[in-house]
């Protein structure tokens, strides 16, 4: 293995995840659900549009989850499967999915932590299945080709333009 494990995210994956998360948001009374991968990249957002920088949010979420993972191990736990951050009005609940991505749920006082936790359980099970299939598919070499010809040359030109030729 040379670098980070590779995987891709297709439109049909997005559709399935969208369906699961839309149903979950309705049942849990939560506002927004995000899927972030453990390297800090945002994969999907469903629900109300967020008012913050989602890219920065995703990198901090992954760091938060990873740091807590290490804390769990120090306590002799294999992991903390979920985290909860409580605010005065806004709260967030984070749950592990297939050990590769994190489900982040944003909710306010119009629902309760108990209901969110309860509904996350079902959604997490469905998402686990989707992501496990997705990773297996990528690993068996049936992933679509990455980028079309000409991409590399154009990307290099853009790098020169942005970072100075």
């Amino acid at each position: 293995m040379s670098g980070a494990s590779s995987w891709s995210f297709r439109e049909e994956d997005a559709r399935r995840i969208n369906e699961i998360l839309s149903a979950f948001l309705g049942e849990a009374g939560a506002r927004t659900a995000l899927i972030v991968d453990r390297t800090g990249q945002l994969i999907a957002t469903v629900g109300e549009e967020v008012q913050f920088d989602p890219t920065a949010f995703a990198s901090l979420t992954a760091a938060d989850f990873s740091a807590n993972d290490q804390l769990a191990r120090m306590l002799g736990e294999p992991e903390f499967g979920a985290l909860f951050h409580q605010g005065e009005r806004e709260s967030m609940y984070l749950a592990d999915i297939a050990r590769r991505v994190i489900l982040v749920v944003l909710f306010d006082n119009s629902t309760t932590l108990g209901l969110v936790k309860l509904r996350v359980r079902t959604a997490a099970k469905e998402l686990n299945q989707v992501f496990t299939e997705m990773f297996e598919r990528t690993d068996d070499g049936t992933a679509p080709p990455a980028v079309e010809g000409g991409f590399l040359g154009e990307a290099e030109d853009e790098i020169d333009r942005l970072f100075g030729a």
């Binding site: 760091a63 980028v147 990307a155």
Partner: protein
């Protein structure tokens, strides 16, 4: 390899700046932040101590624009350099697509450089990554200081080259940034490869974009 999101047509690449404490990793990112067009970069996040030492990481997203239908983004991270922050350092390497090692050229920091380089190899290995097979560049920072070590000494200590066993890679590869020098070469019947290196004064920005250009081009090459 980077994650390709076919649904949102996005490719995100993770670049990590590694190296000893006070070597200039954060300064590299700050310079990029200040010089890149505001529309092409996001918010810079720094998780630092009260004395502005990096505690967990700095993060800066840079947007390359849309290329052949894909939005290409580079996520620049630094790690905390201080020895005792190794747990955090290791976490940041997760999913890395390219590494820049920022060395402190000062003579008295040589040992710290070597230790940080060894730590980088160890942490990459623990993640199951092979540093000799992913985009990797070295930046010798603080070249303006009177106590800066000669480049030859830094190269010998930090970038001596690793053996190339793959026959497909065993051919002379000129260093595009240094005429007459090679990134892959043969010596006494054995093939070697080393990382491209750059001299820099991150505080004034010298060498910062040369390094970033080199590593980002190497990373996009892995997408094709």
């Amino acid at each position: 390899m980077s994650m390709i999101n076919y649904a949102s047509r996005e490719i995100n690449c993770k670049l990590v700046y590694y190296g000893p404490g006070l070597g200039g990793k954060t300064t590299n990112l700050e310079f990029v932040y200040n010089k890149v067009a505001p529309g092409a970069r996001g918010k810079m996040i720094s998780l630092a101590t009260e004395t502005e030492r990096t505690l967990f990481f700095d993060f800066l997203p840079v947007d390359l624009g849309t290329i052949r239908g894909f939005k290409v983004k580079f996520h620049l991270y630094t790690v905390p350099g201080q020895v005792y922050y190794n747990a955090s350092r290791k976490l940041i390497l997760k999913g890395v697509d390219g590494v820049v090692f920022v060395a402190d050229s000062q003579l008295e920091r040589m040992e710290a450089n070597v230790e940080a380089m060894q730590n980088l190899y160890d942490n990459m290995q623990q993640h199951g990554y092979d540093l000799t097979r992913i985009p990797f560049a070295i930046q010798y920072n603080k070249r303006d200081l009177p106590n800066a070590s000669p480049i030859a000494e830094l190269q010998a200590a930090l970038n001596p080259g690793w053996p190339v066993e793959d026959p497909a890679r065993q051919r002379m590869l000129p260093d595009p940034d240094r005429p007459g020098e090679f990134l892959v070469w043969q010596e006494d019947g054995q093939w070697y490869e080393r990382a491209p290196y750059f001299e820099a004064i991150a505080a004034t920005g010298e060498g910062v974009f040369d390094t970033l250009k080199s590593i980002s081009k190497a990373v996009v090459k892995t997408l094709g």
